[in-house]
Symmetry: C2
Subunit: 307 residues, 2 copies
């Protein structure tokens, strides 16, 4: 196994070689370093626990989907989701739409009597993008993006930004979690939600409010039977998968919470992981890509180590 110092040295060589014209040198060096190498040498401080105040557990008959919310990108929607959670709104809400290579969506069926709400609202003003604070710190991706002037990561979430307007938004990568809406931009609330289960539909960016990402349990959603109606809607209620409930981690006793950590994206280890994904190491790859787009960066998640 390589030491951290050896890894940094190799990464520096690889980046130099990539920046220069010597593809052969880059190939040779890059083949030595893999994501596993970087994770194997990571330290405890490279990881953080999921934020229990912003982590949802969607309980399906088949198991738990763990969603982490990025509250700085959609504070009003996330506040409303928490209200919906605490009012029990999500109990027995069905998954009504499973469109192949696109999304899974849940909400009250069209023919159901809408549930009565208490504090939660049925519509919230769109949060398609947010103004970033002047000192906003994120980890930019060096690679150019076609859909946005700049992409990168903050706090383990993939994002894009426009330095011109100083606005930022979460990107529609695999596992992104968003708020269903009608044609009216302000018609979403969290009563309808979706998860991206296909190739990143980046054309949805800034057209709909994203609130977070799935940290664990994606395959419980991605394997659901596809709906046969238009846009993947199920054509009969007996095809629904019914959500038992969605709860907030912080509302559960610690023993019932998922013990998961996400790699901090403001660390040197994360930079190494990205470089190892940009130019894949190991014995198999022949042609390092020399490039990575934001939705191909996999942010590592692991079970919290037991001391």
């Amino acid at each position: 196994m390589l030491t951290k110092q050896q890894l940094f040295s190799l990464m520096a060589s690889a980046m130099l070689a990539t920046a220069g014209s010597s593809a052969i040198a880059s190939d040779t060096v890059a083949q030595k370093v893999t994501v596993s190498d970087w994770l194997a040498q990571s330290s405890a401080s490279d990881w953080r626990e999921l934020d229990s105040d912003n982590t949802l557990y969607m309980e399906l008959p088949t198991g738990r989907v763990v969603i982490e919310l990025a509250s700085e990108f959609a504070p009003k929607h996330i506040s409303n989701i928490k209200a919906l959670v605490r009012e029990g709104f999500y109990q027995n809400i069905p998954i009504v739409r499973v469109q192949d290579n696109y999304v899974v969506q849940w909400n009250e069926p069209d023919d159901a009597t809408p549930k009565a709400l208490k504090q939660a609202k049925r519509s919230i003003a769109a949060e398609f993008s947010v103004k970033l604070p002047a000192n906003f710190a994120f980890t930019p991706l060096a690679d150019r993006d076609g859909y946005a002037p700049q992409t990168g990561h903050v706090n383990g979430f993939a994002m894009a930004m426009d330095p011109g307007s100083n606005s930022g938004w979460l990107t529609h990568c695999y596992g992104a979690v968003g708020i269903g809406r009608d044609n009216d931009a302000d018609s979403g609330s969290g009563a309808s939600m979706y998860v991206v289960t296909g190739h990143a539909p980046r054309h949805l960016d800034r057209n709909i409010t994203l609130v977070g990402t799935v940290r664990q349990g994606m395959s419980l959603l991605s394997t659901l039977p596809r709906g046969q109606g238009d846009m993947g809607f199920y054509t009969s209620a007996n095809q629904y998968t019914v959500i038992k409930d969605i709860s907030l981690a912080a509302d559960l006793p610690p023993a019932q919470r998922a013990a998961l950590q996400v790699l901090r994206t403001d660390t040197a280890t994360f930079k190494g992981v990205v470089e190892a994904q940009r130019n894949r190491g190991g014995d198999w790859y022949q042609h390092p890509a020399g490039f990575i787009e934001v939705c191909n960066v996999r942010v590592p998640v692991r079970e919290t180590p037991v001391n």
Copy 2:
């Protein structure tokens, strides 16, 4: 419904507006035209039947997956696949790997006695890219790509090319079909194959031989239970989905063939479809992306109309 002439006029306005600085004009125009508008006005000559000499039917217990092969990109592998088909190699070959957001793969299990082959071979020299003929005609995508100097479509297949070396290759988009291999670049043959079922792993481009794309039946693969072993391999043979057989369309009587057409990608209708996906129309979109990457272009496939 809009006429073809109205559609072209709208597209021209939208592209002008996009090229200029008037985002508002672009928004206003783009909202009027959708992919459905373009397909509704398409003529019979905009479509072609699948090439029966290069179409495979993978028969699963749940139904048929239709794969079209792009013979100009991997002639040796495709010739070998046809030999494997005709020798009955694929009968009862299991799907051994289903990795979430990545690939489905089938081949003889590691612990099985390899089937005896007649004409077919167990290894073929890599066809990671091909030299393009001087007069190679394809439909370039105007949008820049991070993984390749140029992307576009030929004959309904997504591809990339390097004008400098005049080489071309198929891209790892959702539904792409490729040839499994070991570390040796020349160790593939078609005895192991895979289909991309997740976000486009473009870093595989030029690292492995692609042979075609799935035209119908993706959800039969994308919903398979995920393997729980490393890289999504199943850990027990009783988890396998066993392929009944793979046959070549041309070897079957016409009545047993799938009657499918793909939109010709060298047509004005396809250009319109791409523009409608680049700047989504309809009443829902608020912010046309003004960009599309090659794996977000959906090449339309339809059942052959009955006259």
